[in-house]
């Protein structure tokens, strides 16, 4: 298993390099001069030239990428064009809010999604199944930002149960932390939750029809044991796929949700950086979020090996 994981890791790194390089090229192609953008409201031509030189913008693309990559390998992602803050600090400052949000959202996704999917599969074709499928379909039909706005209206502005904006670190206490995350996480998790539920239901239904399950039951194994040992393990493959895929999407979805709830996370940092053309921050963000997702994918790959030994070969 360790060798398998190491092999996967060995291919993950080239992906990271490829992704960051593509973004590097993309950003380079974009119109507008980043030097002019940071020169302020009354720039002089000399000042812009000076900034260009200090940013190394006059050097060839490959050389710039090369030096960025070398620095990045030493955990140095450069510093923000807008405020000179180290990119690692800028991301680090905003990471707690985003990670908290994503973790709570993914927890809701898994717990509610799997439970709903399981119930639907076991009740296949009956009322509970129909209700769950209908609700999941309905959940997919709602744009997340819109759900967020409605949740704020209902539970913050009207009922005053939960805060409408802002974030409290976990160090401020469990409830202050959680209370600021419930609504955004709910809005963020609605879509992946529905998808996990539908996928899990579909996979379970398929698996439960397989001969070996029927055989296992015929051999007199108890239903929970069959479900736990055989069915769930096989059904887990498509679900983990969705989960891994959705993790990246949830991380991306924070962009809109963080704006509605004014959460100081990396989603908002991304929007600001794109608008400011703050290239070092943008690159750092893409590299960093990609790294996180790759790690998650790695874990999923390994779990494939666990769930379905055939994959390991």
């Amino acid at each position: 298993m360790t060798r398998y994981a190491l092999r996967r890791l060995a291919v993950a790194l080239p992906i990271l390099v490829a992704v960051t390089f593509c973004v590097f090229v993309l950003v380079d192609l974009a119109p507008g001069d980043p030097a002019a953008a940071i020169a302020g409201e009354h720039p002089t031509a000399e000042r812009i030239a000076e900034i260009r030189a200090s940013l190394g913008l006059d050097e060839p693309l490959l050389q710039r990428y090369g030096s960025w990559l070398l620095d990045a390998l030493q955990a140095n992602l450069g510093s923000s064009l807008a405020n000179g803050q180290a990119v690692t600090d800028a991301i680090g400052d905003r990471l707690p809010a985003t990670l908290s949000l994503v973790v709570v959202a993914m927890l809701i996704t898994l717990v509610v999604g799997l439970a709903a999917g399981l119930v639907a599969a076991l009740q296949h074709g009956r009322a509970a199944d129909r209700a769950i499928t209908a609700m999941a379909s309905a959940a997919i039909a709602l744009p997340p930002f819109w759900v967020a706005l409605v949740l704020v209206m209902l539970f913050s502005v009207q009922a005053r149960w939960l805060p409408a904006i802002g974030y409290q670190p976990l160090s401020a206490g469990l409830w202050p932390w959680l209370s600021h995350l419930i609504l955004p996480a709910a809005a963020l998790s609605l879509l992946p939750m529905a998808e996990v539920a539908l996928q899990f239901r579909q996979a379970m239904v398929t698996v439960l029809r397989q001969d070996y399950i029927t055989n296992a039951e015929a051999r007199g194994l108890t239903r929970p044991r069959v479900l736990g040992k055989h069915a769930a393990k096989n059904a887990a493959v498509p679900v983990t796929t969705v989960f891994a895929y959705r993790f990246a999407q949830v991380l991306g979805g924070t962009v809109a949700i963080e704006s509605v709830f004014d959460l100081p996370g990396i989603g908002r940092l991304a929007v600001t950086s794109v608008l400011n053309r703050d290239i070092p921050v943008l690159l750092g963000l893409v590299a960093f979020t990609t790294l996180i997702v790759l790690v998650i994918n790695l874990l999923v790959d390994i779990s494939y090996g666990y769930f379905n030994p055939k994959v390991r070969t």
């Binding site: 992906i15 498509p238 990246a248 053309r277």
Partner: protein, 294 residues
């Protein structure tokens, strides 16, 4: 969809089969009819619209419903009904672009990877992993920042983001199918690989893909709304449901009706796509793999 396994009560002709399906899947049928209605509305927009959708009347902003303006007017005094009708074109096109891009990229690659395994599988998987590892909206933001604003560009980005999902689901399902003995035996007895893929593998992975298509169409329509919310949607003054919804969200107190109409349309259309997809999946299962269904 093999010919041998006909529905339980054999009927001749397509019409007969269709009515049988309709009876078995009333919800999906209703969804299909609703979607046909919406698509017809989009096609016939110039005939249906009562006003020029972009014509402003600044002195007539936020008007309530009336005989002149059936659904009232918006923040520029434009006719909401006409904008909804014309907006359906933009929204549906956007969703088709995204899902089309992702299916075209993801499904063939997924089949190939699942069928061939080995180096090709590894290489394709890595490419899609890379694509999948970039958080979606951040990629969309970057692409729009580079190529400039425009809904089609943004939705192509969304399609790129969806593609790995189709790839992975197709590949995983293909893997599963490839493990079945009958596939192994067809290869063993020397069936051409293309024939095996098209005849045995594809039909068996279609349900999984169809569920994905239905989900993706839903996500694409609501992604259009999210892109509008981030200012990356269709360019003003052109209407789309998403842009109408996100603009109206700014004036929820002032003009709540502006929020509900596009919201309701997005909701019902996405829901219909999902129900239709589910219906098709069940029908395929019923006809193609009858033995399993019973």
């Amino acid at each position: 969809m093999s010919q041998t396994s006909a529905p339980s009560r054999p009927r001749s002709g397509r019409l007969g089969r269709a009515s049988a399906v309709a009876r078995r899947e009333p919800l999906a049928t209703f969804a299909l009819l609703y979607l046909i209605l919406i698509v017809l509305g989009a096609v016939l927009a110039p005939l249906l619209a009562t006003h020029d959708p972009d014509a402003q009347q600044l002195m007539q902003r936020f008007q309530p419903w009336s005989g002149e303006h059936w659904f009232g007017t918006d923040d520029y005094g434009r006719d909401v009904f006409s904008r909804l009708v014309y907006g359906s074109r933009v929204t549906l096109q956007a969703a088709l672009v995204a899902v089309g891009v992702s299916v075209l990229i993801g499904v063939p690659a997924g089949l190939l990877a699942g069928f061939r395994r080995g180096f090709l599988d590894a290489a394709l998987s890595r490419v899609f992993d890379g694509l999948m590892s970039i958080p979606g909206l951040i990629l969309a933001l970057t692409i729009v920042a580079v190529l400039g604003p425009g809904l089609t560009k943004a939705m192509t980005a969304v399609g790129l983001i969806f593609a790995p999902q189709f790839f992975r689901v197709t590949r995983a399902a293909t893997h599963e199918v490839m493990g079945e003995t009958y596939i192994e035996s067809s290869i063993a007895i020397g069936c051409a690989p293309a024939r095996v893929v098209l005849r045995h593998v594809l039909p068996n992975v279609v349900p999984a893909i169809l569920v994905q298509v239905s989900v993706a169409l839903g996500v694409a329509v609501s992604a259009e709304a999210s892109l509008s919310f981030l200012g990356l949607g269709v360019e003003a003054p052109t209407a789309s449901w998403g842009s109408m919804l996100s603009t109206a969200a700014q004036t929820m107190t002032l003009a709540p009706n502006l929020v509900w109409l596009p919201g309701l349309l997005i909701f019902t259309v996405v829901l219909s796509f999902t129900l239709l997809g589910e219906g098709i999946r069940r029908s395929l299962a019923a006809t193609g793999r009858k033995a399993v269904d019973e």
